[in-house]
């Protein structure tokens, strides 16, 4: 968000972080409408929205954290950890899944708190602290799963009490005509709206921009830097837990090695959406558009029926273009 006053109206509009991303999103959307006949249906749009939401929900937290000037590389694996804690605990002890879900929530919040606390306490860059957490969680996921189940995937929990109610909360869907709407998409919209409101309309929102832009001067004017940053790490973990619950209750079993690599997708969504890697700039709508661009690109290639070996290369070009459009829109706007 820019607060400069010396711009024209068009310039002010273009300098908003989400506008460049929006231009890119519209361009990519029209492009796939043109080249991929299978893309032109409401069903396809909702599949894209679903794919975007599983990335987008955690990206909401990661975006806020990045505006606050920090990174979280453990955000991809904690999604898998969240599901595994729930699944393995309830299966091993034979208890209701709701207890495991609660325990998993406490676990994730504790990891987020630890990330934030270590960063603030030691002053070591969050990139390194959360890289450590990333490896620890990855190893613990594998080790504990193997110890508990004797294999590296969790067991099917569909017969344990509480499954159907949890599935209704985290992984339900309903049909409108022949379109399937997953409720996680609605949760995504809700989290985006909540994040946008916090960032634009509340005092903690101002604090987040302040600690990301200039932590020392923020501290000097009385912004609770430590509390704000730790809360951001906890928020990321909470949203990771949420998606973890969705994955567990949609797929019933989890492979312990999953989730690795997704931390970069969250960061990519935030950056494509106009969040600055250096902190202090960005907003929630932009991050949501970034996640949508990712979902649209990764599935658009499939809808177009192109040679899958080019997938990553094409994805890279699309993302670069999105970032470039974004970058120049902002530059042009702030002239």
């Amino acid at each position: 968000m820019s607060r400069s006053t010396s711009m024209g109206r068009a310039g002010r509009l273009l300098a908003r972080p989400e506008v460049g991303a929006l231009v890119a999103a519209v361009a990519i959307f029209l492009f796939f409408l043109a080249v991929a006949p299978a893309f032109r249906s409401a069903g396809s749009l909702f599949t894209v929205l679903y794919q975007s939401s599983t990335i987008g929900i955690v990206a909401v937290g990661v975006g806020m954290l990045m505006i606050g000037g920090e990174f979280d590389l453990s955000a991809g694996v904690i999604v898998t950890s969240a599901g595994l804690v729930n699944s393995l605990f309830c299966w091993y002890f034979g208890v209701n899944l709701w207890i495991g879900a609660l325990l998993s929530l406490l676990f994730c919040l504790a990891v987020g708190f630890l990330n934030g606390w270590l960063v603030m306490r030691t002053g070591i860059p969050s990139f390194l602290i959360t890289l450590g957490t990333f490896f620890v969680l990855q190893g613990v996921n594998l080790g504990v799963t193997k110890l508990v189940t004797g294999s590296v995937s969790s067991t099917d929990i569909a017969d344990i009490d509480g499954f159907s109610s949890l599935q209704a909360v985290f992984a339900s869907s309903f049909g409108i005509g022949d379109v399937t709407v997953w409720t996680i998409v609605l949760f995504w919209f809700f989290f985006v709206a909540l994040s946008a409101w916090i960032l634009q309309r509340t005092r903690p929102g101002n604090w987040i921009y302040a600690v990301g832009g200039a932590a020392e001067s923020a501290r000097a004017v009385g912004v609770p830097v430590v509390r704000t940053k730790i809360s951001l790490f906890v928020t990321v973990s909470f949203l990771g837990w949420f998606v973890g619950m969705h994955n567990l209750y949609r797929f019933n079993t989890l492979q312990a090695g999953n989730g690795v690599g997704n931390e970069f997708l969250y960061i990519i969504a935030a950056v494509v959406g106009g969040t600055l890697l250096t902190g202090g700039f960005g907003n929630a709508i932009g991050v949501a558009i970034g996640a949508f661009i990712f979902g649209m690109t990764s599935l658009g290639i499939v809808y177009a029926g192109w040679d899958p070996n080019w997938f990553r290369a094409f994805l890279g070009v699309m993302l670069l273009l999105a970032v470039l459009v974004n970058h120049y829109a902002r530059k042009w706007g702030s002239r």
Partner: protein, 322 residues
């Protein structure tokens, strides 16, 4: 914080033991006592990417064989070819009596394997490298021929009248997975490959769903690993696709899906047997000079698992041995 923990523990205690469907308590007298040591140390080096149910079975087989023969087993793994070569070199340096290794990247591993044979350490290949194990100097080989396995699936699909299968590759750039799909394609020419991100179930499902929506002429889905097949079941339901599903590899949930008729058949290369035989054959060679396979590779697959034999095999998958 402390009060929270206490409250949480109290809730747990209250609710403990009040649910169905969890773990079955193991029998107290289960689990075999280790045999007397044979005095042999064998290194077992694979290119396992941590967290894959397939490799977990290979390792389980090797560990059971080590218990049964009294061998001291040193397991190590690294998906990076260079690091796997270093692991083999480490085994040579620590003067083990035998080395079992996957030969997935023969060029990268050749040096280390030569160092082993040069030091008089017998080497056995498994899982990958069926074409190259001999020239590298390995004595025996246990595994499946990926191309042959793909062809067997392709033949079966062709017989069933398949017109347009898709072959789902869940790890980009894997030679073994590409070989499987090429095998299928050699029998059903219209086979098309689809690349998905195997580390994310939601991504696999949506990509498949998109593919099924893009091309309604797809009549068979071939997945190359059991967890991916389970995602494909979901994708099929979402896309209301009539396509039939077949897969490589088994696990417990997969076996149940075959029993439930959600998956037509799975082709099994019996990873447990690969691990078990690699260790056992080295033991027999060291103790007795045996040479299994009579100069050729010993094939552990392809073995078909379908409605005709699933009742026999299902209990084994629950024990993580198939």
């Amino acid at each position: 914080m402390n009060r929270l923990v206490v409250a949480g523990a109290a809730i747990l205690l209250l609710a403990a033991g009040c649910s169905e469907g969890g773990r079955e308590e193991p029998d107290a007298n289960e689990g075999s006592a280790a045999k007397q040591s044979s005095g042999y140390t064998i290194a077992f080096v694979t290119h396992e990417r941590p967290g894959d149910t397939f490799w977990d079975k290979v390792r389980a087989g090797a560990e059971q064989a080590a218990i049964d023969t009294g061998v001291d087993l040193k397991y190590s793994n690294d998906p990076d070819a260079g690091k796997q070569a270093t692991l083999i070199q480490q085994a040579v340096d620590s003067k083990v009596q035998g080395i079992a290794t996957t030969l997935v990247t023969p060029e990268a591993l050749a040096g280390s394997v030569k160092a082993a044979t040069g030091a008089g350490i017998p080497v056995v290949g498994l899982n990958a490298g069926i074409e190259q194990y001999k020239e590298l100097g390995a004595l025996m080989y246990f595994g499946s021929d990926e191309t042959l396995a793909g062809e067997s699936i392709g033949e079966r699909l062709a017989t069933a009248g398949a017109k347009h299968p898709i072959c789902v590759i869940h790890q980009q750039g894997s030679v073994a997975l590409e070989a499987r799909c090429a095998g299928v394609k050699s029998k059903v020419a219209a086979t098309e490959n689809l690349q998905v991100n195997g580390a994310d179930d939601a991504a696999v499902t949506t990509a498949l769903q998109a593919k099924l929506a893009q091309d309604s002429s797809i009549d068979y889905i071939v997945t190359l690993g059991a967890p991916v097949a389970l995602d494909a079941v979901q994708a099929k339901e979402q896309a209301s696709s009539p396509a039939k599903l077949v897969t490589f590899d088994l696990n417990k949930e997969m076996a149940q899906a075959i029993k439930d008729g959600k998956v037509e058949f799975a082709i099994d290369q019996q990873p447990y047997a690969q691990g078990y035989m690699a260790v056992t054959s080295l033991y027999l060679y060291l103790k007795n000079g045996n040479d299994l396979g009579g100069g050729g590779p010993v094939l552990t697959g392809p073995s078909f698992v379908d409605s005709s034999n699933i009742d026999t095999i299902l209990p084994f998958t629950e024990k993580n041995t198939r």
